[in-house]
Amino acid sequence: MAKRKGIEVSIALSDAVKLTNADVIAAYPITPQTHIVEHLAELVANGELDAAFIPVESEHSAMSACLGSSATGARTFTATAGQGLELMHEVLYVASSMRLPIVMAVANRALSGPLSVWGDHSDVMAVRDTGWIQIFVENGQEAIDHTICAFRIAEDNRVLLPVMVHLDGFHLTHMIEPVTLPEEEDVSRFLPPNRYPLPLDPVKPVAMGDFAPPVIYTEAKWAQEINLRNSKSIILEVWREFEKAFGRKYLPVEHYRSEDAKTLIMTMGSFSETASLAVDSLRQKGESVGQIKLRLWRPFPFKELRDAVKNADTLVILDRALSYGGPGGPVCTEIRAALYNEAKKPKIVSFVGGMGGRDISVAGFEQIITQGMEIARKGSPNEYEIFGVRE
């Protein structure tokens, strides 16, 4: 039986990568991702993981080396954060359009300037449309489990898409948490070897990355889009299989005391646990409050989201990123769009907060929820509310 132990989440995540027996890791250090790649370098150096660790000279090259490695058929992993993810930006689109099953952990970090090494979701939101499958995790156990699942999802020949596992910088990466690391045999049973269908191999030459004239581009992009949308059913299948094998259940939209709730707070990532405590506290005070958490960011779980909110009066959404000059938090904006044509839908209140590592306490979440209920009743002149800013 796998044992539960206290371990830093970054280390736990790298240990999960080791369990997948990854072939190639190409990475460049950036706070708060560093512990992940340092630990992987150490595992390779000690011969505990039989892989090539390519200490590239930039994140652009990290993702580029991952393209080459994955196209050759190797199981490929990298990790980054904030500026690193931005430097990778153009390469990310190539990974998804070339159908390369790369797995990347993103230790979510704010973007410069001003320079901030601390966590928020500005980096995630900037790469929203890169065609990757994107999953938020909330705690150390989820970081392990979803890293393992990510390889199985990405490499499934019905999917063949890269996957980002988002974990909050510092708030999650640097926490020591009790986790259960699965046994190696169990992971090997759950995760079959990577069988990339058309690798770069002289025995059967393929040309990858040809350029597309206008008569082909739209078709190529549409095929990619259909494929990403269809990946949802396989993601769900993998998570069901994971539950069978390891006993932990995951859903695209997770619920907490939400069944009968009139007001829902929606969160992503590590802040979710704090928000849950605020829900408990408000419930004790007699408020009809619940929580939903977005796990699957891409492909967006439209059905699950609509089902989750259909009986609520108010939906308060906390974004940890800003769309400058725009309509509110990026997640909230999408959810407004997803619900716009529904006959029965809650009032939606957008909050932006927790940026650049600013913490939101339980009391803070209580305030967000109650203020959100009030705005839903009385209205507000603002597109969104900024939480906790000093005037």
């Binding site: 072939d23 390519i54 090259s61 490695s69 490929t76 040809d210």
Partner: protein, 327 residues
């Protein structure tokens, strides 16, 4: 490195790994260079191609001229992609999950993709000691986007972003010495070549492939479209570039310089310039200035070849055998 094949007339493989039917301009020296280089590749090769003329002319969906496994991703990351392919091949071979044969990774890019936007990725890959060959096909400008200057454009040449005019001589800086930058990485093999000297070029390609570790080849590739010259003098222009001392052919093996073609009696640079529209605006004084510089640079090179400067680090075993990339 001793056992590479020597190419000679009639012994050149007939098979075209870079198939005809691509869309390069008439008389394209870069397509000629790629085609000839490919004859020295063996079957067990993976080609990693940068964005640029050679990628665009040979890979329009649903066609390809490549009869080798080939991958193009972006403009500036070719050496990094090659790093990934090379590392993957090595690990998968060790684990018994990849191709059984020894596969060589060959990265190809233009002068822009090499000496400008891709320089960082190239430097990283050379420094890490990957076992790969990088070939820069240098046509001395960003041709694919319409003849803009690069750092490899020669002094005085008119391009669309270094136009000649009342207040401009054209290209305002001297050509970046890319082979010297490669040499500074202490890699086992660096050479210059030109398809106007086809056997010299193919032999260098074969030699570079035989190296266990990083090798860099810099190939002057005449571009009639960008150089503003007729398409039927491509080969002649390549020879003139060498005979004038403007583009000397040499090798740097483990840090030791060796001239491939000696031109003690150089032709005047004007013989080369007068055939090309990009130099048409140069005054007599401009030509003298360039002539002097060409002479000086050539002498410096000959001096290096004489001294046989040795690079200790590269002399010892190729680092690709020992470093952490192969771990």
């Amino acid at each position: 490195m001793e056992k590479y094949t020597v190419y000679a007339p009639r012994l050149i493989p007939k098979k075209e790994k870079f198939a005809p039917g691509h869309r390069a301009c008439i008389g394209c020296g870069e397509a000629l260079a790629v085609r000839l280089a490919c004859k020295a590749f063996n079957e067990n090769t993976v080609v990693v191609n940068a964005t640029g003329c050679m990628e665009i002319v040979a890979s329009q969906l649903p066609y390809t001229s490549w009869r080798l496994p080939w991958i193009h991703t972006l403009f500036e990351n070719t050496a990094a992609v090659a790093s990934g392919v090379e590392a993957a091949l090595k690990v998968m071979k060790r684990k018994g999950t990849g191709p059984k044969a020894a596969v060589k990774v060959i990265a190809i890019a233009g002068d822009g993709g090499t000496s400008d936007i891709g320089l960082q990725a190239l430097s990283g890959a050379l420094e890490r000691g990957h076992n790969f060959l990088y070939i820069c096909f240098d046509n001395e400008a960003y041709m694919n986007t319409g003849i803009q200057r690069s750092s490899a454009t020669p002094f005085g040449a008119a391009t669309t972003t270094s136009p000649a005019g009342k207040a401009s001589i054209g290209q305002f800086s001297w050509k970046k010495n890319m082979p010297a930058i490669a040499v500074a990485h202490d890699i086992p093999y660096v050479a210059t070549a030109c398809p106007s000297y086809p056997f010299d070029m193919m032999n260098k390609v074969a030699k570079a492939i035989a190296v266990n570790g990083p090798a860099y080849l810099h190939v002057l590739s005449v571009c009639p479209t960008g150089w503003r010259c007729p398409g039927d003098i491509t080969v002649r222009l390549g020879r003139l570039a060498v005979e004038t001392g403007i583009f000397p052919l040499y090798e740097v093996e483990n840090g030791e310089y060796k001239m491939s073609v000696e031109t003690p009696h150089q032709r005047p640079v004007q013989d080369y310039f007068k055939l090309q529209g990009r130099f048409r605006h140069l005054s007599e004084a401009d030509v003298i200035l360039i002539q002097e510089r060409v002479k000086r640079e050539y002498e410096k090179l000959v001096e290096k070849a004489k001294n046989g400067r040795k690079s200790e680090r590269a002399k010892t075993e190729s680092r690709a055998n020992t470093d952490q990339v192969s771990a």
